[in-house]
Subunit: 581 residues, 2 copies
């Protein structure tokens, strides 16, 4: 059986554009003799469509598009993702669906059973699960009975989040009803090393149900999410027999054997892991965010530091060196080497570079505020003014020349709030906001090694990180060393471990409590942060929804003693020093 895996880059909401692309791929698959071509989940509307799904007109338009596409289908079957209305007057209004298009008609409709509602996924907000997955998701293609499922239907596994979320396993239902091959239409976003886990998980499912599996993933960036492609096919023995490109559109033609073994015609692309895959994901995510928003070029501040250097390198790989503008904005506290390092980076990358000193604006702020600040000591307020002057200058560039401003903060500093709201946090996209500082270093080393030259200047890598908002400042004046910070961050944010749990692993209690406190009280900053590209299992932003005006304190020592807890009014936990910076 010859199946085409149409790994396309869908733009959310762009029904007309996605529609044209689907018709194009159907034609190409037919030309290559495929019996059936499979598209990603919700391909007509792009994943994730979010609250566009609440617009009745949007659903109408997507249904009309499905009909249009079906009218172009002949001599091949197509399985196309779309949003279907729930025929039952009770329940969520929609189904997450695929249609089988055949002979110019919508031949049959099939609904998703398991609806992910965790992390970045909100599917219970919109969809009703398929009413009877047991019978309705089997389709006859030529002589083969195929079992159709959609994304999460493949993922009912306790390894994912230490727990099985669903009582049902749609694959077991399909298999028990006689399916001979499993076809899955997906939109599975990138997380570092997730593809390795996918292969392991899918392979174990295949071995359990003893039939081939074809998995078609979306590719491309949609806001925070980057879909890595990596569509894949297994034979009935759980062996990989074909794999599509990573981070690129691809039409993968797969000859699925009746038993096991790889037919010689199949293509198996390599996939990367680790920092290399993070870099590729960020390049794709940046490119798609910029172009899908309708921009052609980007601007960013180059401080001479490693975060802006990496962001600039990613932008150049995503858009080309002519589409990236760097601005150096030295202050009275900037070291000479900062501007030199920034200039050297711009030279290495071949991008435009302007220098716009902030001294004059900084002086004007100080003089303007002199009266009302009289008698106070210079501190945070004055430091932040410099970052905000830079933010305003960059936004003026963006407004004037129409290039999207990139913000360059990494996950470690955004976690602890070591960044200035409306200052260095200004920008339309936070390119590396889900990359911990230690990983930023690793990526830069990898990049230089891979390219065989110092794209990221050596001095930028070896010097002590500094915000340069006061004389001789370094990050480590305020923060523990990044390897320590990142280790605590990982446990607290990605693993949801508590202070006592982290401390029990040998970390200094005071440091742990301090870091957790900083993370918790920086929530208000992150609420106003630019969307950031997700690469870890738990990114700040849409997939981590924390209250701001809250007072949960770890540990709660007084609660352990009922009599004290009830009588004492104010001494619970640590004090809270509010700032807004």
């Amino acid at each position: 059986m010859r199946i085409a895996l149409a790994q396309i880059n869908c733009t959310v909401g762009d029904i007309a554009g996605n529609c044209r692309k689907i018709v194009d791929y159907i034609g190409r698959a037919k030309a290559q003799g495929a019996e059936v071509v499979v598209f990603p989940e919700l391909a007509i509307i792009g994943y994730p469509p979010k609250d566009l799904l609440l617009k009745p007109q949007f659903i109408d338009d997507n249904l009309r598009a499905l009909k249009l596409i079906s009218s172009r289908v002949s001599g091949i079957d197509a399985i196309v993702g779309y949003a279907e209305r729930n025929a039952d007057p009770v329940g969520r209004p929609l189904h997450n669906a695929v249609a089988l298009l055949r002979d110019g008609q919508i031949f049959s409709r099939h609904f998703k059973t398991l609806l992910p509602t965790y992390d970045v996924f909100d599917e219970s907000r919109y969809f009703e699960p398929g009413p009877d997955n047991k019978t309705s998701n089997l389709i006859q293609i030529g002589g083969t009975l195929a079992g159709v499922s959609i994304c999460e239907d493949l993922w009912n596994d306790e390894r994912l989040i230490d727990r099985r979320l669903y009582h049902e396993n749609p694959l077991a239902n399909l298999s028990s009803r006689g399916s001979q091959i499993l076809i899955n239409s997906s939109a599975s976003p990138f997380v570092v090393d997730k593809h390795k886990f996918r292969i392991e998980l899918f392979s174990s499912q295949v071995k359990q149900f003893k039939q081939p599996l074809v998995y078609v993933n979306q590719v491309g960036g949609n806001d925070e999410l980057v879909f890595d492609g990596n569509s894949i096919a297994f034979d009935a023995g759980g062996n990989v027999i074909a794999q599509a490109k990573e981070f690129e559109e691809d039409l993968l033609i797969v000859d699925v054997p009746a038993t096991t073994g790889t037919p010689t015609g199949n293509r198996i692309e390599k996939h990367t892991g680790g920092v290399a895959s993070i870099y590729k994901a960020l390049v794709l995510g940046l490119r798609d965010y910029v172009t899908k928003c309708g921009f052609k070029s980007v601007v960013l501040g180059l401080s001479g530091g490693i975060d802006s250097a990496l962001t600039a390198a990613i932008a150049v790989d995503a858009l080309g060196k002519d589409k990236v503008v760097g601005i150096g904005m030295p202050s009275r506290y900037s070291s000479d080497h900062s501007v030199d390092d920034a200039r050297e980076l711009a030279k290495q990358l071949g991008i435009q570079f302007h220098i716009v000193p902030i001294k004059q604006v900084h002086d004007a702020y100080e003089s303007t505020l002199g009266e009302v600040f009289k008698g106070t000591e210079a501190g945070l307020a004055e430091e932040n003014l410099q970052a905000r002057a830079r933010g305003a200058i960059l936004m003026a560039f963006s407004n004037k020349f129409g290039n999207l401003l990139l913000t360059t903060g990494n996950k470690s500093e955004i976690a602890v709030g070591y960044c200035t709201l409306y200052g260095d946090m200004c920008g339309g996209l936070a390119v590396i906001s889900d990359v911990p500082k230690t990983t930023v270093y690793e990526i830069c080393e990898w990049l230089n090694a891979t390219r065989g030259r110092e794209i990221i200047p050596r001095n930028t890598i070896i010097k002590a990180p500094s915000a340069e908002l006061r004389p001789n400042q370094t990050d480590q004046d305020s923060l523990p060393p990044y390897p320590l910070l990142d280790a605590i961050l990982y446990r607290y944010v990605e693993l949801e471990e508590s202070a006592p749990q982290i401390i029990s692993q040998g970390f200094d209690p005071e440091t742990v409590v301090r870091i957790i406190k900083l993370i918790d009280r920086s929530e208000y900053k992150r609420r106003q942060a630019a969307p950031g590209l997700k690469v870890t299992s738990r990114a700040f932003g849409f997939g981590r929804r924390m209250p701001i005006a809250q007072n949960y304190q770890q540990p709660i020592p007084k609660l352990r003693d009922p009599d004290v807890a009830m009588e004492e009014g104010t001494e619970i936990g640590w004090g809270y020093e509010p700032t807004m910076d």
Copy 2:
């Protein structure tokens, strides 16, 4: 039967504080002879706890708190909301629960059946529905069999969103099993005139099941949501027999008659609707956000316009005039009357007022950018610099003196993006961001009439709204009149109507398409907006989750013609002019 409705103001995450409050109210209810005291939904942890629920330690702490509270219960029953672990190893890890506390023990546990997952609600993200509501939610209190339910369990009604979302009606189950009274523990956030609908809905449920109903709501602000209290009791005939205060904590003692009629001891507080209730909700929401974040005072820019005037008035009512600082920041384009109107407002409110002209900073920006902007025409970039200078000055105040910055944009301007990111959008709380401009006027007129004097200066109300970023600018240079804008906004955002639907109601097609386009393309600004207090059925922010890099266009004319849609590449819909401002 005497029931106490403990309408308390819970702080999210503040387990120790909520715990103390619950114990205090149990004591007071007992002192007044109540047989049972009922607390709001998730009272121990506050509603909505969001992703705090994903922290295992947080769940442990809340369970420990429940046990502590139970140890203090004697001579009265208490029904207390908390998060319970799901005993089934498969499914979501938690239940949204109440416990019946009796004689120093946790006597029984009861789980929510209907889990709202729409608008601002995300309960399917965390909770598994109660496994068998039919039997397990009945409790014996004295001689009465009471049916317990939690919030949404009362709301399975198609009037809410034009559709029944759930197949089950927990009240019908309770009633068919013999319940004699219905007790509901809730956290139901304020939306203008929602309480009128609650009374109608609850009363119709009561009439259907022919038994009294007691509904206990949370009160107070938690981030975007304001809980209005308004706890209420009905006799078996569907008549209101008691009602708690609105927007205040209250312990309401209700004698529930065996049949119908209001026992003389019951208290029925009045509730307000319309603009008066919006004003009260904003006062409470502001006060709680500021104090629960640990701040004592606020600062805001006073432009002489109506939005900042209303915001200042709300802040004074919330915190007292000594806790509010106003800053006037005239520019070279500010009219004389702007500063006069701002000063007059400050005088009327009795608040501190400083004048910090932005001329010097504005000049410094222009001079700094002169070189790189040479040969370009002044426009948006230059206008925004003024707004950003103001934002930075206000943030410097906030950083220096520790007062929370309030941002003052209304819903109409945030909808169409008539505001400057990192400029007038700076701030920790957007007080009136869910209030359309026409409603801002109504509230101000109501406020002046109610107070019997011109709190909001007459000139501020009658002059044409202006951003004053260029000479003689008014809002209506760029926007249609606000009554028209607000009418389209309401249909597009609150009702989810499409362009063709709105146009079919007699609105000018060009204006409709233009407004919708402005709303859609301002999504990236709103993503970085401060949290705003929700007062309408659909607020921007957490309850409206839109993609940014999307390309849905209404209408999609070319899609109506299949042959054209497929062949033409670029002429679909309107063009998109990206800006980042």
